[in-house]
Amino acid sequence: MSLKKKMGAALVTTALGAALIGGGTFAIFSDSATNAQNTFTSGTLDINLTDSAYSGAKHVSLTDIAPGDEGTKTITVKNDGSLQLRYNITQALNGFLASNDPDNDSVADPGESNPLAVTLKDSTGAEVTKLTDRVLNSGASETFTVEYKMPINAGNTYQAKSATYDFSVAAEQTRNN
Protein backbone atom coordinates (compact mmCIF):
# COMPACT_ATOMS: atom_id res chain seq x y z
CA MET A 1 0.00 0.00 0.00
CA SER A 2 1.06 3.58 -0.43
CA LEU A 3 2.18 5.46 2.66
CA LYS A 4 -0.90 7.62 2.65
CA LYS A 5 -3.25 4.67 2.39
CA LYS A 6 -1.48 2.79 5.16
CA MET A 7 -1.68 5.72 7.57
CA GLY A 8 -5.31 6.25 6.62
CA ALA A 9 -6.09 2.64 7.47
CA ALA A 10 -4.36 2.90 10.84
CA LEU A 11 -6.33 5.99 11.78
CA VAL A 12 -9.65 4.40 10.86
CA THR A 13 -8.88 1.32 12.94
CA THR A 14 -8.05 3.36 16.02
CA ALA A 15 -11.16 5.46 15.65
CA LEU A 16 -13.32 2.35 15.39
CA GLY A 17 -11.69 0.92 18.48
CA ALA A 18 -12.48 4.06 20.50
CA ALA A 19 -16.12 3.97 19.47
CA LEU A 20 -16.48 0.38 20.62
CA ILE A 21 -15.06 1.09 24.08
CA GLY A 22 -16.96 4.32 24.73
CA GLY A 23 -20.44 3.65 23.44
CA GLY A 24 -23.43 1.60 24.61
CA THR A 25 -25.27 1.13 27.97
CA PHE A 26 -24.29 -1.44 30.59
CA ALA A 27 -26.18 -3.18 33.38
CA ILE A 28 -24.73 -3.59 36.90
CA PHE A 29 -26.00 -5.83 39.64
CA SER A 30 -28.87 -4.42 41.67
CA ASP A 31 -31.71 -5.44 43.96
CA SER A 32 -34.47 -3.85 45.96
CA ALA A 33 -36.32 -4.51 49.21
CA THR A 34 -39.78 -3.35 50.26
CA ASN A 35 -41.50 -2.77 53.60
CA ALA A 36 -45.08 -3.26 52.49
CA GLN A 37 -48.58 -2.53 53.65
CA ASN A 38 -47.94 0.49 55.84
CA THR A 39 -51.41 1.60 56.89
CA PHE A 40 -52.38 5.14 57.79
CA THR A 41 -55.91 5.56 59.09
CA SER A 42 -57.18 8.98 59.98
CA GLY A 43 -59.37 9.47 63.03
CA THR A 44 -62.76 11.15 63.06
CA LEU A 45 -64.07 14.16 64.88
CA ASP A 46 -67.82 13.85 65.33
CA ILE A 47 -69.97 15.68 67.82
CA ASN A 48 -73.72 15.15 67.96
CA LEU A 49 -76.68 16.42 69.90
CA THR A 50 -79.66 14.43 71.02
CA ASP A 51 -82.71 15.72 72.81
CA SER A 52 -84.82 13.46 74.98
CA ALA A 53 -87.92 14.17 72.95
CA TYR A 54 -86.52 15.20 69.59
CA SER A 55 -83.57 13.20 68.37
CA GLY A 56 -81.14 15.37 66.45
CA ALA A 57 -83.00 18.58 67.10
CA LYS A 58 -80.81 21.44 68.12
CA HIS A 59 -83.32 24.10 68.90
CA VAL A 60 -86.37 23.98 71.02
CA SER A 61 -89.53 25.90 70.24
CA LEU A 62 -91.41 27.08 73.30
CA THR A 63 -94.98 28.28 72.65
CA ASP A 64 -98.41 28.44 74.33
CA ILE A 65 -96.85 29.20 77.66
CA ALA A 66 -98.66 30.96 80.46
CA PRO A 67 -97.15 32.98 83.31
CA GLY A 68 -95.92 30.64 86.06
CA ASP A 69 -95.18 27.82 83.61
CA GLU A 70 -91.86 26.10 83.90
CA GLY A 71 -90.40 22.98 82.38
CA THR A 72 -87.29 21.20 81.28
CA LYS A 73 -85.86 19.62 78.19
CA THR A 74 -82.70 17.56 78.05
CA ILE A 75 -79.96 17.85 75.49
CA THR A 76 -77.14 15.33 75.28
CA VAL A 77 -73.83 16.13 73.66
CA LYS A 78 -71.97 13.05 72.43
CA ASN A 79 -68.53 12.43 70.94
CA ASP A 80 -69.22 9.91 68.18
CA GLY A 81 -65.80 10.17 66.64
CA SER A 82 -62.55 8.37 67.42
CA LEU A 83 -60.63 11.39 68.63
CA GLN A 84 -60.94 13.26 71.90
CA LEU A 85 -62.48 16.67 71.34
CA ARG A 86 -63.09 19.93 73.14
CA TYR A 87 -66.14 21.99 72.35
CA ASN A 88 -67.81 25.33 73.00
CA ILE A 89 -71.50 25.85 73.66
CA THR A 90 -73.36 28.71 72.06
CA GLN A 91 -76.89 29.50 73.14
CA ALA A 92 -79.37 32.08 71.96
CA LEU A 93 -82.86 32.94 73.12
CA ASN A 94 -84.86 35.00 70.68
CA GLY A 95 -88.41 36.13 70.27
CA PHE A 96 -90.80 38.54 71.91
CA LEU A 97 -91.75 36.07 74.61
CA ALA A 98 -88.23 36.46 75.93
CA SER A 99 -88.11 40.21 75.51
CA ASN A 100 -88.55 42.95 78.08
CA ASP A 101 -90.84 44.78 75.66
CA PRO A 102 -92.97 42.07 74.05
CA ASP A 103 -95.26 44.42 72.11
CA ASN A 104 -92.28 46.38 70.91
CA ASP A 105 -93.81 49.78 71.53
CA SER A 106 -91.01 51.19 73.71
CA VAL A 107 -93.63 51.86 76.38
CA ALA A 108 -93.37 50.14 79.76
CA ASP A 109 -96.77 48.46 79.82
CA PRO A 110 -97.89 46.70 83.00
CA GLY A 111 -96.28 43.29 83.48
CA GLU A 112 -93.48 43.90 81.05
CA SER A 113 -89.81 43.15 81.86
CA ASN A 114 -90.85 39.67 82.95
CA PRO A 115 -89.55 37.68 80.06
CA LEU A 116 -89.23 33.96 79.59
CA ALA A 117 -86.00 32.82 81.17
CA VAL A 118 -83.97 29.83 80.07
CA THR A 119 -81.24 28.35 82.22
CA LEU A 120 -78.79 25.72 81.10
CA LYS A 121 -77.94 23.25 83.84
CA ASP A 122 -75.55 20.30 83.91
CA SER A 123 -76.19 16.77 85.17
CA THR A 124 -75.63 17.81 88.80
CA GLY A 125 -78.36 20.44 88.62
CA ALA A 126 -75.96 23.38 88.76
CA GLU A 127 -76.06 26.15 86.21
CA VAL A 128 -73.47 25.74 83.52
CA THR A 129 -70.91 28.49 83.82
CA LYS A 130 -68.13 26.99 81.70
CA LEU A 131 -69.32 27.23 78.14
CA THR A 132 -65.95 26.87 76.43
CA ASP A 133 -63.34 24.11 76.15
CA ARG A 134 -65.44 21.33 77.53
CA VAL A 135 -63.59 18.06 76.84
CA LEU A 136 -65.18 14.80 75.75
CA ASN A 137 -63.36 11.53 75.14
CA SER A 138 -64.26 9.33 72.22
CA GLY A 139 -67.61 7.70 72.96
CA ALA A 140 -68.35 9.87 75.98
CA SER A 141 -71.35 12.17 76.37
CA GLU A 142 -72.63 14.96 78.59
CA THR A 143 -76.27 15.67 79.38
CA PHE A 144 -77.62 19.14 79.94
CA THR A 145 -81.01 20.28 81.14
CA VAL A 146 -82.64 23.32 79.60
CA GLU A 147 -84.92 24.83 82.22
CA TYR A 148 -87.45 27.40 81.11
CA LYS A 149 -89.57 29.59 83.36
CA MET A 150 -92.24 32.17 82.58
CA PRO A 151 -92.54 34.64 85.48
CA ILE A 152 -95.96 34.70 87.20
CA ASN A 153 -95.91 38.49 86.92
CA ALA A 154 -95.73 38.56 83.16
CA GLY A 155 -98.48 40.87 81.82
CA ASN A 156 -100.96 40.65 78.95
CA THR A 157 -98.56 42.05 76.43
CA TYR A 158 -96.80 38.69 76.58
CA GLN A 159 -99.85 36.93 75.13
CA ALA A 160 -99.57 35.27 71.73
CA LYS A 161 -95.83 35.65 71.65
CA SER A 162 -93.19 33.05 71.07
CA ALA A 163 -89.50 32.46 71.59
CA THR A 164 -86.91 30.05 70.29
CA TYR A 165 -83.88 28.76 72.09
CA ASP A 166 -80.89 27.67 70.06
CA PHE A 167 -78.21 25.45 71.49
CA SER A 168 -75.21 24.63 69.35
CA VAL A 169 -71.78 23.11 69.86
CA ALA A 170 -68.55 23.49 67.91
CA ALA A 171 -65.73 21.01 68.47
CA GLU A 172 -62.10 20.61 67.58
CA GLN A 173 -59.47 17.93 68.22
CA THR A 174 -57.56 18.25 71.47
CA ARG A 175 -54.45 16.46 70.21
CA ASN A 176 -51.69 18.76 68.92
CA ASN A 177 -54.04 21.64 69.58
Binding site: S32, A33, N35, N38, L45
Partner: protein
Protein backbone atom coordinates in the same frame (compact mmCIF):
# COMPACT_ATOMS: atom_id res chain seq x y z
CA UNK B 1 19.70 13.57 0.51
CA UNK B 2 17.87 16.58 1.76
CA UNK B 3 16.15 16.54 5.16
CA UNK B 4 12.67 16.12 3.85
CA UNK B 5 13.53 13.14 1.72
CA UNK B 6 15.49 11.50 4.54
CA UNK B 7 12.58 11.82 6.92
CA UNK B 8 10.20 10.44 4.41
CA UNK B 9 12.56 7.51 3.79
CA UNK B 10 12.81 6.81 7.53
CA UNK B 11 9.04 6.73 8.14
CA UNK B 12 8.41 4.71 5.04
CA UNK B 13 10.96 2.07 5.99
CA UNK B 14 9.67 2.09 9.57
CA UNK B 15 6.14 1.35 8.41
CA UNK B 16 7.47 -1.24 6.03
CA UNK B 17 9.30 -2.89 8.89
CA UNK B 18 6.13 -2.99 11.02
CA UNK B 19 4.05 -4.51 8.31
CA UNK B 20 6.71 -7.15 7.64
CA UNK B 21 6.69 -8.14 11.33
CA UNK B 22 2.91 -8.05 11.72
CA UNK B 23 1.90 -9.60 8.47
CA UNK B 24 4.86 -11.61 7.40
CA UNK B 25 5.48 -15.26 6.39
CA UNK B 26 5.49 -18.19 8.87
CA UNK B 27 8.61 -20.22 9.75
CA UNK B 28 9.34 -23.12 12.12
CA UNK B 29 11.40 -22.89 15.36
CA UNK B 30 11.28 -24.84 18.64
CA UNK B 31 7.98 -24.37 20.46
CA UNK B 32 6.09 -25.41 23.53
CA UNK B 33 2.87 -24.43 25.20
CA UNK B 34 1.32 -24.36 28.63
CA UNK B 35 -2.24 -23.79 29.68
CA UNK B 36 -3.85 -22.56 32.83
CA UNK B 37 -7.14 -24.40 32.98
CA UNK B 38 -10.43 -24.20 34.80
CA UNK B 39 -10.32 -20.56 35.59
CA UNK B 40 -13.58 -20.02 37.38
CA UNK B 41 -15.57 -16.87 37.16
CA UNK B 42 -18.35 -16.76 39.68
CA UNK B 43 -20.49 -13.70 39.91
CA UNK B 44 -21.33 -12.28 43.30
CA UNK B 45 -24.81 -11.38 44.34
CA UNK B 46 -26.61 -8.27 45.39
CA UNK B 47 -29.49 -9.22 47.66
CA UNK B 48 -31.21 -6.49 49.62
CA UNK B 49 -33.64 -7.46 52.35
CA UNK B 50 -35.56 -5.66 55.07
CA UNK B 51 -37.35 -6.18 58.34
CA UNK B 52 -39.17 -3.59 60.36
CA UNK B 53 -37.58 -2.74 63.67
CA UNK B 54 -40.01 -2.10 66.49
CA UNK B 55 -38.05 -4.16 68.99
CA UNK B 56 -39.72 -7.34 67.77
CA UNK B 57 -39.06 -10.09 65.27
CA UNK B 58 -42.54 -10.15 63.79
CA UNK B 59 -42.36 -9.27 60.12
CA UNK B 60 -44.73 -6.55 59.07
CA UNK B 61 -45.24 -2.95 58.14
CA UNK B 62 -43.72 -0.14 60.18
CA UNK B 63 -46.97 1.79 60.36
CA UNK B 64 -50.18 0.00 61.24
CA UNK B 65 -53.55 1.09 62.52
CA UNK B 66 -54.90 -1.99 64.24
CA UNK B 67 -53.08 -4.66 66.14
CA UNK B 68 -54.04 -7.49 63.80
CA UNK B 69 -52.67 -8.38 60.43
CA UNK B 70 -55.61 -8.35 58.00
CA UNK B 71 -54.61 -11.81 56.81
CA UNK B 72 -54.77 -13.03 60.40
CA UNK B 73 -51.31 -14.58 60.32
CA UNK B 74 -49.89 -12.69 63.27
CA UNK B 75 -50.61 -9.78 65.58
CA UNK B 76 -48.68 -6.63 64.85
CA UNK B 77 -48.74 -5.57 68.46
CA UNK B 78 -47.34 -7.95 71.03
CA UNK B 79 -48.43 -5.93 74.07
CA UNK B 80 -49.07 -8.26 76.96
CA UNK B 81 -46.00 -10.34 76.10
CA UNK B 82 -42.61 -9.51 77.67
CA UNK B 83 -40.49 -7.08 75.64
CA UNK B 84 -43.62 -5.76 73.93
CA UNK B 85 -42.89 -3.30 71.17
CA UNK B 86 -44.84 -0.05 70.90
CA UNK B 87 -48.33 -0.63 69.62
CA UNK B 88 -50.02 1.49 67.05
CA UNK B 89 -49.00 4.98 68.03
CA UNK B 90 -51.91 6.67 66.37
CA UNK B 91 -54.62 5.10 68.46
CA UNK B 92 -57.99 6.13 67.12
CA UNK B 93 -56.42 7.20 63.90
CA UNK B 94 -54.18 10.02 62.77
CA UNK B 95 -55.10 13.59 63.60
CA UNK B 96 -53.50 16.68 62.03
CA UNK B 97 -50.31 17.49 63.90
CA UNK B 98 -49.56 13.87 64.82
CA UNK B 99 -45.95 12.74 64.68
CA UNK B 100 -44.92 9.06 64.61
CA UNK B 101 -41.42 7.58 64.47
CA UNK B 102 -40.81 4.05 63.19
CA UNK B 103 -37.79 2.13 61.97
CA UNK B 104 -36.72 -0.68 59.69
CA UNK B 105 -33.49 -2.58 59.04
CA UNK B 106 -31.95 -3.04 55.61
CA UNK B 107 -29.75 -6.11 55.17
CA UNK B 108 -27.30 -7.01 52.45
CA UNK B 109 -27.78 -10.74 52.15
CA UNK B 110 -25.64 -10.99 49.05
CA UNK B 111 -21.90 -11.44 48.70
CA UNK B 112 -21.02 -8.12 47.10
CA UNK B 113 -20.70 -4.78 48.79
CA UNK B 114 -23.66 -2.69 47.80
CA UNK B 115 -24.69 0.91 47.97
CA UNK B 116 -28.25 2.08 48.51
CA UNK B 117 -28.99 4.67 45.89
CA UNK B 118 -32.74 5.08 45.55
CA UNK B 119 -35.98 4.87 47.45
CA UNK B 120 -39.66 5.22 46.70
CA UNK B 121 -43.19 4.61 47.92
CA UNK B 122 -46.01 2.82 46.14
CA UNK B 123 -49.70 2.59 46.87
CA UNK B 124 -50.40 -0.92 48.15
CA UNK B 125 -52.51 -3.07 45.89
CA UNK B 126 -56.18 -2.34 46.36
CA UNK B 127 -55.70 0.76 48.52
CA UNK B 128 -57.24 4.17 47.84
CA UNK B 129 -55.31 5.93 45.12
CA UNK B 130 -57.45 8.94 44.26
CA UNK B 131 -59.98 11.38 45.60
CA UNK B 132 -60.00 14.63 47.51
CA UNK B 133 -58.95 12.96 50.76
CA UNK B 134 -56.13 10.99 49.16
CA UNK B 135 -54.72 14.00 47.31
CA UNK B 136 -54.68 16.05 50.45
CA UNK B 137 -53.20 13.24 52.54
CA UNK B 138 -50.18 12.62 50.32
CA UNK B 139 -49.37 16.31 50.30
CA UNK B 140 -49.89 16.92 54.00
CA UNK B 141 -48.11 13.81 55.24
CA UNK B 142 -44.44 14.66 55.59
CA UNK B 143 -41.97 11.76 55.65
CA UNK B 144 -38.40 12.19 56.90
CA UNK B 145 -36.24 9.16 56.20
CA UNK B 146 -32.92 9.02 57.98
CA UNK B 147 -29.94 6.73 58.49
CA UNK B 148 -29.07 7.85 62.04
CA UNK B 149 -25.87 5.76 62.38
CA UNK B 150 -24.27 7.85 59.67
CA UNK B 151 -26.28 10.97 60.40
CA UNK B 152 -27.74 11.07 56.91
CA UNK B 153 -31.10 12.39 55.82
CA UNK B 154 -32.20 10.27 52.88
CA UNK B 155 -35.46 12.06 52.16
CA UNK B 156 -37.43 14.84 53.81
CA UNK B 157 -40.58 15.94 52.11
CA UNK B 158 -44.22 15.11 51.42
CA UNK B 159 -45.25 11.52 50.73
CA UNK B 160 -46.37 12.66 47.27
CA UNK B 161 -42.71 13.15 46.29
CA UNK B 162 -42.02 9.46 46.83
CA UNK B 163 -44.91 8.19 44.76
CA UNK B 164 -43.57 9.03 41.30
CA UNK B 165 -41.06 6.22 40.95
CA UNK B 166 -37.51 5.88 42.29
CA UNK B 167 -36.07 8.97 43.93
CA UNK B 168 -32.28 9.27 43.98
CA UNK B 169 -30.70 9.53 47.42
CA UNK B 170 -28.42 12.56 47.25
CA UNK B 171 -25.68 10.85 49.29
CA UNK B 172 -25.88 7.08 48.69
CA UNK B 173 -24.50 4.97 51.50
CA UNK B 174 -22.67 1.65 51.42
CA UNK B 175 -24.20 -1.49 52.89
CA UNK B 176 -21.83 -4.42 53.41
CA UNK B 177 -22.84 -8.10 53.53
CA UNK B 178 -24.26 -8.89 56.97
CA UNK B 179 -24.87 -6.07 59.42
CA UNK B 180 -28.13 -4.17 59.10
CA UNK B 181 -28.53 -0.50 58.37
CA UNK B 182 -31.21 0.92 60.66
CA UNK B 183 -33.38 3.38 58.78
CA UNK B 184 -35.89 5.59 60.61
CA UNK B 185 -39.13 6.95 59.20
CA UNK B 186 -40.63 10.03 60.82
CA UNK B 187 -44.16 10.67 59.63
CA UNK B 188 -45.87 13.96 60.48
CA UNK B 189 -49.38 14.90 59.41
CA UNK B 190 -49.36 18.64 58.88
CA UNK B 191 -51.66 20.66 61.12
CA UNK B 192 -53.25 22.28 58.11
CA UNK B 193 -54.88 19.00 57.09
CA UNK B 194 -58.62 19.29 57.38
CA UNK B 195 -61.82 17.27 57.57
CA UNK B 196 -61.45 16.07 53.97
CA UNK B 197 -59.15 13.29 55.13
CA UNK B 198 -61.22 12.22 58.12
CA UNK B 199 -62.05 8.57 58.65
CA UNK B 200 -60.13 7.17 55.69
CA UNK B 201 -57.40 4.60 55.29
CA UNK B 202 -54.37 4.83 53.03
CA UNK B 203 -51.81 2.04 52.59
CA UNK B 204 -48.29 2.35 51.17
CA UNK B 205 -45.22 0.21 50.49
CA UNK B 206 -41.77 1.74 51.07
CA UNK B 207 -38.89 0.40 48.94
CA UNK B 208 -35.11 0.78 48.78
CA UNK B 209 -32.82 0.07 45.80
CA UNK B 210 -29.20 -0.99 46.02
CA UNK B 211 -26.48 -1.41 43.41
CA UNK B 212 -23.04 -2.94 43.46
CA UNK B 213 -20.52 -0.64 45.12
CA UNK B 214 -17.49 -1.73 43.08
CA UNK B 215 -16.71 0.04 39.82
CA UNK B 216 -19.81 2.14 40.29
Amino acid sequence: MNLKRRLALFSASGLLGISLIAGGATYAIFTDSATNNNNNFTSGTIDLDQTRDLGDTIPGPMFYSSTSDPTGKYPYDKSGVPLAPPGSDAVGGWAPGDHVLRAMNLFNKGSLDAKVTKLKADISTGATNSGVGYNQFINKMNIKIMYPAQNRVLYNGPLSGLLNGWVNISAPFAIYPGGPANITFEATLDESADNDIMGQTFVFDFSFYAEQLRNN
